[in-house]
Every structure is written in C-alpha cells, then in structure tokens.
C-alpha cells in the first residue's frame, strides 16, 4: 500500500519533523554565514579591498641628458598610444577593419596582439598600437565615439634630438627584458618599465629612470573610476638630469671632419686637467630614435648584419694596434732605463737587418743619422728598432702599464675593452710558446700583439702632457635636479705615475711639438699660435711586403688604419685628442686634419687667443734641451 492511514496524529507528527528540518536549515545557514563572515572574514575583506581600490602606476618622466653647456641631447616627447578593450566592442571586426585603414597594421595583426594579451572577451584594455602619428591620432580621435572600446593614452617617449650624432655615448632605452627582470639588472624596475639598454642610458639608468608613482582609485566592477585620490602618498619622482662632459659643438665639428673625405673610425677628445670627455665619436653609427618605442625587426637585422658594425662603440670597444703612436712609450722607457739619451743617434738607411730579418723604415730612402727628437718628429722606424733591441719586452710592458695601457680606463660606459700589453707571461699563457726577440722589434713601432683603444691612447697622451698625471676619463659632469641645481658633481680622480722623471716627459713632448710644428709627419694639424703637439700612426692591416698592392687596390678592406693623437697647447696642455680613421691610409693625411678641426673648435669656442710669440717659448725649450741634456 502506498500510504499510511491518514489521521490527525500522523499529520502532526510529520509536521513536527518538517519543523525540525526548518530549524536545521536555519542553523546550517547561520553556521555558513559565521564561517564566511567571522572565520574567513579577514580574507574576504582583503579581497574586497583589492576589488575596490585599484592602483595604477604613474610613469615617472625620464631625466633629460644635456651636454656640458646644457644643450638638450635626450628628452621626452608625447607619444600617442591606442588601447582597445575587447569586451566593450560591439563589432570587433568592424573596428579592426577601420583601424587597419588608418594605422599600418592588418586586422589579423591586431587580432593577434589582442589574443596574445588575453582573449577577445577580455575586459582589460590591450595596447594595440604605439606611437600614432599626429595624422593617425586625428583620424582615430575623430571617430572614437563610434567605437567605445577604443582609448587613447598619451605617454612620454624618449627622443634623441641629434639622432645618430651622440648614439654611442647616449645609447638608447627599451622595455626591460624578461631576463633583465629575472636577474634584477635594474633594481626597482618591473615589467613594462623603460630602462636604459645601451650607453649612458644604461650606465646611469638608476639616476635617469626616476620612480613611478601610484595612483589610487576606487573602481567599480565595470572598471569605471568613481574616485581618484591625489597621488600625494606615492607621487611619481622624475628622473634626474644628466649633465654630460660632451661638447655639442666639438662633436658636431668632428662629425663634419669625418664627413669630409668620407672617413670612418672613431675620435675622442678629453680635457687633460679633469678627464672630462668632450668628444666621443664613432662612424658608422645608428640612430637611437629607431629603438623607440622598439626597433623594427628588419632594422635590427640590418644593423647587426652590417659588416661595418654600426652598433659598436669603436672608441672604447674596439682594440687596434697603436702603430707609431706607441713610439713615445718606447722613448720614455728607454730614456728612463738609461738605454738612450737625447743625443743617442742611430743611422737609418730605410731598413735594417736584425736577427736575420730585414725590418724596413716607412721611408724607403731612410732618414740618415737620427737622434730622439728627429726620430719622434719624423717617426723613424729604424731608430725605434734599435731602441727595441736595447729594451726587454717585460720592461716595455712595465712602462706601457705605468701609462695606463692594458687596463680599463673605467670610463662610465658599459663594455669597455682593456686592450693588450704583451709580455713573456702573456705569450706563455696565450700560445704556450716563449717570447722571441724579433717580436720585440715589431712591438717597438706599435705593431705585433700590442693593442689599444682610442680612449686609452688619448689618456696616455694626456698623461704624458701632464708629466705623468693620470686623470680618469668620464662622460658625466654632474647630476642635476629639475631646477638645474647640482646634486652630485663628478670628482676628478687623479693618480701620478711613479718612475718616470718629468725631464723625460719634456723631451718627448718637445718631439711631439715638432711633429706638428717643424718638418714632422703631423703638419696637417698645425694651428698657428696654439702649439699643437701630436703623433701620427699608420697601422698595417696586411703584411708589409705582400700587402702593399692589395692595400692600394682595396683600400676599403685592406688599407692601413690611420692614427693621430695630439694635445695642446704645449706650455699648458688643456685638451688631448685621439683620432682613428679605419682604412684611412697615413695618419698624417687621414687623421691629423680631423684633430685640427676639433682643436680649432675647442679654442674658438673658449675664445682662447693665440699665443703671440710661439717662437720664444719654443726657443726656451730648445735652450732647455741644450742646457740639460748632454750631447752624446
């Protein structure tokens, strides 16, 4: 039977049972609420806080970079970025078609961007186009009201005012990479932050980047901002201004000089007293603006596959043989070791048999009888072969190092190279072989394994000019705040070479003066009244005998490299300059005129008048030589 007998008692019993169920349900609900609101209350309260308060970063404007005269080299410009919130879209394909008719991307590319960031149902805005042109901005803004999913944000973007001119010094910025984020390469930087990726932008990133602020907002579930709090608690801290030591006018003059005669290579100018780098120039180069906001893949491929390596900062990253510019190191070593005196004379007949091999002078006819002064002035190779025979390679290495070769100058740029000062130990480690005396003869004229950077050579000559004071080269003069008040001033770091007497420096300097001002190899750098001193250098790219013709025929590839290293004026040296012209031929023709133009700009900008009577001062030095150095 389906049912019990129906009576009042049965019904009341069963209703009581239902009352029990009602009570149990109410108690169950009470327990549930107690669990949610009391036990888990703090957890949910925290979730609610995150729900309601949203914190958006306020980007900090990146600090400006200015030259020594506060001319702006790198600043920020307004960039217009387009965001799309897929969920708000009524007809996504229609919108994307409209956008692709205005912007340079296909609907498929837009769709790919959206899907990469989320889904086409996503309710958070996706950055789909960066850096619209003003024309594109006008088009999109005019029709924005038809497309509620579109949003235009204006953002600060880095801009390099002189394009390629300062590229290797300034470097460029870019979004932090995943690897950099993981390695904490830039403390405090988080995903999407813009950080320095090369050059000073990278080295001084912590000063330039500033600190993003936080904008607290009350937001409802649709993302509508109901209230914005003033960002007083966490305001954005703008980056500091970097005042460089670079001199815009000199850099520009250098560029012009390289443009004449289609030169390429590197140039450095340095203030001898302070170590401030006035010019840091490389050619070929690149435009750092190409990297903002990010470099096009095709452009990047072009830059890294270019055989001339435009991305390399040749002045500090590439090492070359110093060639004849190394002869002053030989002279100082020999003088100091007492192996020669100013009067020591060697005969040059255009070449000499040493260790059963002929070593040629660059001048086939020979220089005749040559003393130290003439040897420097005319860069006589045979003279220095003889000096090389009197010096041990380890002694040459010792003096090279004393003057700063073979170690980093510690300039404030990434990826500097230290060059190479060869000695017996090095040879043993590098090849397992012993050092042969013949190799010393090559080193004596700056060939062989010895390698330097342009900045190192400028520094060596500056040290000689100051009679043995090494000043650390640097590119940043001061850090300024937004009101142009100096916050941090770079301190001049000096160090004195121990073990070379100043008389020997004077002898070498006198030779360097005559290179430019008498009948020397550097005549093309002569400026009347400014007592320019300097030394040419020519570096063979292919072997002397076999390569002569090759070098002439294919100068671009096998032509000699040209050096000219100089400082001026003689009596009170202020500026040192190193010019390197790749495959430029002779230092006298290819490199010296560039240095001359740089020096002219230096003196005319500073309104330094020519010295009225150069002769008298030179006479003094000549007398000095006669008085202090005994004739041999």
């Amino acid at each position: 039977m389906l049912g019990e007998p129906i009576d009042r008692e049965l019904i009341e019993r069963r209703i009581n049972l239902i009352a029990g169920i009602v009570l149990s349900v109410c108690l169950l609900f009470f327990t549930s609420f107690w669990y949610m609101q009391v036990v888990r209350g703090p957890y949910y309260a925290q979730l609610a806080g995150e729900n309601i308060f949203k914190e958006d970063p306020i980007p900090a404007p990146r600090g400006l970079i200015v030259d020594r005269n506060r001319q702006i080299l790198a600043e920020n410009r307004l960039s217009h970025n387009l965001f799309l919130t897929p969920r708000l879209s009524r007809n996504l394909h229609g919108t994307l078609n409209f956008l692709s008719s205005v912007l340079d991307a296909s609907p498929e590319e837009f769709l790919r961007t959206i899907k990469k960031e989320g889904s086409i149902q996503s309710s958070s805005p996706v950055l789909i186009y960066q850096d619209m042109s003003l024309r594109q901005l006008a088009y999109v803004s005019a029709r924005k009201f038809e497309y509620p999913e579109l949003d235009i944000h204006h953002e600060q973007k880095r801009s390099y005012n002189y394009g390629a001119l300062f590229s290797h010094a300034l470097g460029y910025v870019g979004e932090i990479t995943e690897e950099q984020e993981k390695n904490r390469r830039f403390p405090g930087a988080v995903r999407r932050d813009i950080v320095g990726q090369a050059g000073l932008e990278r080295h001084y990133n912590s000063y330039l980047m500033g600190k993003a602020g936080l904008q607290r907002k009350v937001v409802n579930s649709n993302g509508v901002v109901l209230k914005e709090f003033p960002p007083t608690r966490d305001p954005a801290v703008p980056g500091k201004v970097l005042q460089l030591t670079l001199d815009y006018n000199m850099q520009k003059a250098t560029d012009e000089a390289f443009a004449e005669g289609d030169r390429r290579g590197a140039a450095v100018a340095m203030d001898i007293k302070t170590g401030e780098i006035l010019v840091l120039y490389n050619k070929p180069t690149y435009d750092p603006n190409d990297f903002i906001p990010r470099i096009a893949p095709a452009k990047w491929k072009e830059l890294i596959s270019d055989p001339q390596h435009p991305l390399q900062n040749r002045a500090i990253q590439n090492k070359f043989s110093p060639g004849s510019t190394f002869k002053i190191v030989m002279a100082l070593a020999a003088l100091q070791e007492g192996k020669i005196t100013p009067a020591t004379t060697f005969g040059c007949g255009g070449g000499q048999f040493i260790y059963n091999r002929i070593f040629r002078c660059w001048k086939p006819g020979g220089h005749g009888a040559v003393d130290l002064h003439r040897a420097i002035m005319q860069s006589c190779d045979v003279y220095f072969y003889n000096v090389g025979m009197r010096l041990d390679i380890d002694v040459i290495a010792k003096y090279s190092r004393l003057l700063g070769m073979g170690s980093l100058t510690d300039v404030d740029l990434p990826n500097e190279t230290r060059g190479l000062v060869p000695d017996r130990d090095w040879k043993k480690k590098a090849t397992g072989d012993k050092w042969y005396p013949g190799e010393t003869i090559s080193v004596a004229i700056g060939q062989g394994p010895v390698l330097v950077t342009a900045l190192q050579l400028a520094s060596v000559y500056a040290t000689v000019a100051k009679n043995g004071v090494i000043v650390k080269p640097h590119l940043v003069r001061a850090v300024l705040d937004l009101n142009n008040t100096v916050i941090e001033q770079t301190k001049v770091q000096k160090e004195t070479v121990v073990g070379i007497s100043s008389g020997n420096y004077e002898l070498v300097k006198k030779g360097l003066w005559s290179v430019v001002n008498e009948w020397g190899t550097g005549g093309k750098a002569r400026i009347e009244g400014y007592d320019v001193c300097g030394k040419t250098g020519t570096v063979q790219v292919v072997g002397y005998d076999a390569g002569k013709d090759l070098a002439k025929r294919e100068k671009e590839k096998y032509g000699d490299h040209a050096w000219f290293i100089s400082f001026a004026p003689l009596s009170d040296p202020q500026v040192a300059i190193a010019v390197f012209v790749e495959h430029g031929g002779h230092g006298s023709d290819a490199a010296a005129p560039v240095a001359k133009k740089m020096l002219q700009t230096y003196f005319s900008d500073r309104k330094i008048p020519p010295f009225s009577e150069p002769g008298t001062r030179m006479a003094g030095i000549k007398n000095n030589r006669k008085n202090t150095v005994p004739e041999n």
Binding site: I11, E12, M36, V38, R40, Y44, V224
Partner: protein, 363 residues
C-alpha cells in the same frame, strides 16, 4: 459583513515577521541602488507593498473553503493563462513568462502556483479517503505536471522546479510511506541526466561553476565569487548602511537588489544583521507550521503546507546560493527581493495561511 470573531485568531507574530522582512527588503533595495540609475526601485517596491496589503486584506476576508471549492475553475483558468502567455507573452530575459499590462507586468505562473496548490489540497483532502492510493499519487502528479510542462515551455526552469516541493510535501503529509517517498526521490535523481539534456548552456555553466567557481572568475563564476566577497567582507558588524565602500555600491554584485539582496544585507549589517533576519524567517516559518497543526480540517492543513513548501523552497535555494551551498538559479528571496509578482504572491500566500488559522474555530 466580515465576521469579527475571526480576527481574534489573527496571528500578530506572523504578521509582524512579514512586515519586518518586507521593510528590511525595501531598505536593502534602497541600499543596493542608491545613487544609481535604478535608485527609484525602492519606491516601486513600496507601491507593490501597498497593493499587496490590499490583496492581503481581501484574502483574509474570503473563507479558504470558498477558495478550495472554487479551486478547479481557478486551476483551469491559470492553465489557460499559461497557454496564452506562450502566445501573447512578453519575453523578458529569455523567458516568455510575462503579460505586459501597461504600468505593470504580471506573471501567470505566480497565480498558477497558488491555484495548483489549492486544487491539489482540495483533491487530497477528500475526507472519505483512508489511504493514499497509487491512483491518487498519479492524479496528484498530473495536477502538478500540467502547469510545470507549460512553464518549462516558456522556458523558466526555476519556476518549474518550485512546483515539485509542494507535491512532495503534500504526498508526505497525505501519509505516503517513507519507502515510497525515497523511491520517488531516487527515481527523480535517476532522471537528472535526462534533465541535464534539456538545460541551456548558461544553466549548465551555472551548475559547473557552482562546483568550481574559480574556473571562470569573470564569467559565470563571477557572481558567486563577488557575492562571497561581499558577504565575507561584511564580517561581524557589517560596513554600515549606505557605506560607499561596499561591493554592492561599487556594482560588483550582479542582480544585487533581486536575487542577491541577502548579500547586500550581509555586507551592510554583518553577521548580526544576518542572525536577526534569519531569525525572522525562522519564526515566520515555524508560525506557519503551527498554523498547519492547528488547522480545523485537512484541506486547511494541505493548503498551508503547500504554500509553506514553496516559501521554504525559495528560502533554501536563495540563501543557499548566497552562502555557496546551492548553484545560481535565479529564484528570488521571498518578501525581500525586489519584484512585484513575487512580493504579491508571497503576501497572498501568507494571507491564505493566516486565513486558515483565523477560521480554525469557526463553523
């Protein structure tokens, strides 16, 4: 002339609980919608309350025996309305369940619920019957199945399901053996997979996200998660009425003035407010059960318990959803949720229940 003696049996506790819950509801609707485009909804709710009080007074004065006696035409009339709404109804959020009558919309399924319960109660209360026969069981099932079938055509799954609890409860009170009740329930569960086939995708999603809300936190799981955050963050004392830092004010809770009105209460008044409100519901339901026990005759018991079944079912489903024990069904919380039809039919049901109590000694 209304019989004044009957008002001596008027249940003031039940009446007070009803008024208090409606009042709380209006307050929560105001709290949920103030400073929004729907800020006037609490006024509409008050207007509906006024209308329902009129209906309340009228129904108190109509003897429930009269309602039971006229239940067949009422039942047939509501079936006709349910058929008509399929042809002439207005589609609101996917279901063709409304008649648009100018100022207000009206849902014939609300009338059908009461009419069906009256008819079922009348049928089962035949005093000559000593035992529940299989024939009675099948007949009862048919009485309920017809409106259910018509409503599922609209389609309105939630309302369809509300017809089952009165059937089960009345079978139970009509003396059905436990064995058979369990078998009926088990066979119902066995039918669930078939039922699943008839569900729409969004309904399947709701059930799936009930099982795991974090699966789709911005889609179907969003409502559950946000409601839980609202309730939980109310903690012991709540954030206070009209606080501007609530999930409700900030629009995080969907349907906050209708299905999720209890979350608004829990957020504003905390566990204290929840205890008070749950107590009001508890007292109200216990008073209804007392009424059933004290009813003069079998038809009175069945009418009260049928109406109670619907009330209790809504309460379990809605509050269960708020605390995350039930999936989202879209059933309103009786007396508190915004909505004229729901308020009107609940007040009418309570009026009929009080009617039964008032006439317990009357000949």
């Amino acid at each position: 002339m209304p019989d004044t003696r009957i008002f001596r049996q008027f249940d003031p506790v039940l009446f007070f609980c009803m008024l208090a819950l409606i009042g709380t509801g209006v307050l929560m609707i105001y709290s949920a919608t103030f400073q929004t485009l729907s800020a006037q909804l609490y006024v509409r709710q008050l207007q509906w309350f006024a209308v329902s009080l009129v209906l309340f007074v009228i129904l108190l004065n109509v003897d429930y025996h009269f309602l039971a006696d006229s239940s067949l035409p009422l039942y047939l009339g509501s079936v006709i309305l349910l058929i008509a709404v399929l042809f002439f109804g207005k589609r609101i959020s996917g279901a063709k369940s409304w008649f648009a009558l100018g100022y207000f919309n009206f849902q014939p399924s609300e009338i059908a619920k009461i009419a069906t319960i009256l008819f079922l109660a009348k049928y089962l209360s035949d005093e000559t019957r000593m035992f529940l026969e299989l024939r009675d069981f099948l007949m009862s099932g048919l009485i309920v199945a017809i409106p259910m079938f018509l409503i599922i055509l609209q389609p309105d799954m939630g309302t369809t399901l509300t017809f089952l609890p009165p059937l089960i409860l009345l079978m139970f009170l009509a003396g059905m053996r436990y064995k058979w009740i369990f078998m009926a329930i088990l066979s119902g569960i066995a039918c669930l997979p078939v039922f699943w086939l008839f569900l729409k995708q969004y309904q399947k999603d709701r059930i799936l996200t009930f099982i795991d809300p974090s699966k789709d936190p911005l889609g179907a799981g969003y409502q559950i998660i946000q409601s839980k955050i609202a309730v939980g963050s109310g903690r012991l004392f709540g954030k206070g009425l009209l606080s501007k830092q609530t999930q409700a004010y900030l629009d995080y809770i969907p349907e906050k003035h209708t299905d999720f009105v209890f979350s608004v209460l829990a957020e504003d008044f905390g566990l204290i407010g929840v205890i008070v409100t749950l107590s009001l519901y508890f007292i109200l339901m216990i008073r209804i059960l007392f009424t059933a026990k004290q009813a003069r005759d079998r038809v009175g018991v069945f009418i009260v318990m049928g109406l109670f079944a619907i009330f209790f079912f809504h309460f379990i489903i809605n509050v269960g959803m708020i605390v995350g024990l039930m999936p989202i069904t879209g059933l309103p919380l009786p007396l508190m949720s915004y909505g004229g039809s729901s308020l009107l039919s609940t007040v009418a049901a309570i009026a009929i229940i009080m009617n039964v109590r008032m006439r317990r000694f009357v000949n």
